[in-house]
Symmetry: C2
Subunit: 313 residues, 2 copies
């Protein structure tokens, strides 16, 4: 029989409202964001990175994250998260009612310095303070995004033991906190066999009931779906994805957004994997997102005739 | 350790000269084709579907296949094949010195009717005659392309046992002939789990020393690399691919060519899989192919900066 039996369920975290909206140079109006988020919810999305609590001077596109959190505060079935690069962001997010914090630290020093303007050690000091905050709060939880887990734009290839080093230090700070760890292919250059190797090594060393695994990937090199499935077959249970593949960078030709949610859902539907997402309605959301002014999208499913998007079983 | 260890070697069959050049409405000049083929050889391609022996009225783009075969007749290290839809094509191909025939028959009746204007049974009658020819020749061999092995544009999903039925009938005609069987995802709609299921079922039923397995896929739905790798991990040893992703159909918006050779090589390089292909030179060939007038291409690797195409190990 088949070596790769599909899993029963995969959790999809929709990141277009964070990673995608952030990539659009002129900040979108808040009500436009709200309409897109509602469409994503209508399509069956239940986990979403809704924005980030960062300096509005650094990233003005995320300045209204608190308003988005407030607008959807009554959706008990939804699991919203927000990215926080430091203690200040975590405090703000918790004060505004976010129950799931995404703390980001890059495995490579130079990328962490470029991304959050501090060393990995300094990021981890903030993580310790955030963990203390979360333990006080009691009902909040933590996603740890390990940036440049496979490749760094400045340092090149990242070996699994470099990821292991940062993860080990981070876990020592987390104690008995439940944790979802995302290996992030920040540049899109990871290959399926590298993804398999990193996950199998790290899951072997860090297996435990309080730890779950996620993969955050891009389709820039055409590896998006393959990398995601290789992650799933080596321990990941959650995939990040951006509806319509919204993302990229206006200053980096060829850079694309996260792997399109609809492409991943199509692949998973073919294995009868439960994602809770209705592909037809997701494509309606993708059309709305693709129509946003200034957005760059990269989706395969949006290019094919709508009558042909049901996966063969 | 990792569930999916990379294989030592994968054979790539470059099909741009057939599937790709055929998709360009105005036939390319023969010398232009020769230049592209030479670039592909320079990049390390050793297997190539160089054209097809079909009616020049039906497919004028392939009318010069005999000239291409003659132009490269002295390349002893190259394994050229040509597609033949019927006995007449096989006779012509063998007369012109082709040593590897690609006989195509679709699993679905309606697609076979549309593609080669005959029933599956009629195609198989020709296959019997071609097998007799090949046995006379002695030193020629056969690739069997099973079109619509996963999905048919007219009949929808194709179950593995439908493929099994046609393959069983074909094998009964082949006797002890060595055979490479390609499951062809003609529409690009196959998903990785469907590919895994079909290959695992069929390999289990048809395993034998005289049978090798190939996968012929498209990236239309973004499944190109994932489908290819799932095929490799379920018995395939050969992948068809088109440099620059040349292909598609001028009359079908959204249709794309075969998965780009460079995207597959990038994925395989990440597992240190030997393909014999030099990715940098392949990208030079891809640029030349993408510059052909009237060609539609779909390649991820061609979109990224050239200094960044070495796979992280």
């Amino acid at each position: 029989m088949s070596l790769l039996s599909p899993p029963e369920r995969v959790d999809i975290v929709e990141v277009a409202p964070r990673d995608g909206f952030q990539s659009i140079r002129d900040p979108l109006p808040t009500d436009e964001k709200i309409r897109c988020i509602q469409r994503l919810i209508d399509a069956g999305i239940t986990r979403m990175e809704i924005g980030s609590f960062v300096s509005p001077r650094a990233i003005p596109q995320m300045a209204d994250t608190d308003q988005l959190v407030a607008a959807f505060a009554d959706r008990a079935a939804m699991r919203f998260s927000a990215l926080v690069p430091n203690l200040r962001g975590a405090e703000l997010a918790l004060a505004k009612g976010v129950r799931e914090l995404v703390f980001v630290v890059s495995v490579s020093e130079s990328h962490n310095q470029g991304n959050v303007r501090r060393s990995v050690a300094e990021s981890l000091e903030d993580l310790a303070r955030i963990v203390a905050l979360l333990k006080q709060e009691g009902n909040a939880c933590l996603r740890l995004d390990l940036g440049t887990s496979f490749d760094c734009p400045y340092e090149g290839t990242i070996a699994w033991h470099q990821v292991d080093d940062v993860l080990t230090r981070a876990r020592d700070l987390c104690g008995d906190l439940h944790l979802e760890v995302a290996l992030c292919d920040t540049t899109g250059r990871a290959t399926p066999y590298q993804v398999a190797n990193h996950f199998s090594r790290l899951v072997e060393r860090h297996a435990g009931p309080r730890l779950k695994w996620a993969f955050h990937g891009h389709d820039t090199y055409g590896m998006g779906v393959a990398n995601a499935l290789f992650a799933i077959h080596h321990g990941a249970t959650t995939l990040d994805a951006a509806c319509a593949g919204l993302g990229g960078c206006p200053f980096a030709p060829g850079a694309t957004g996260n792997t399109a949610t609809e492409d991943l859902v199509y692949a998973l539907n073919g294995g009868d994997v439960d994602t809770g997402i209705d592909l037809a309605r997701l494509l309606e959301a993708a059309d709305a997102i693709a129509a946003l002014p200034g957005g760059q999208t990269a989706s395969h499913l949006r290019q094919v005739p709508r009558g042909r998007v049901t996966s063969p079983p």
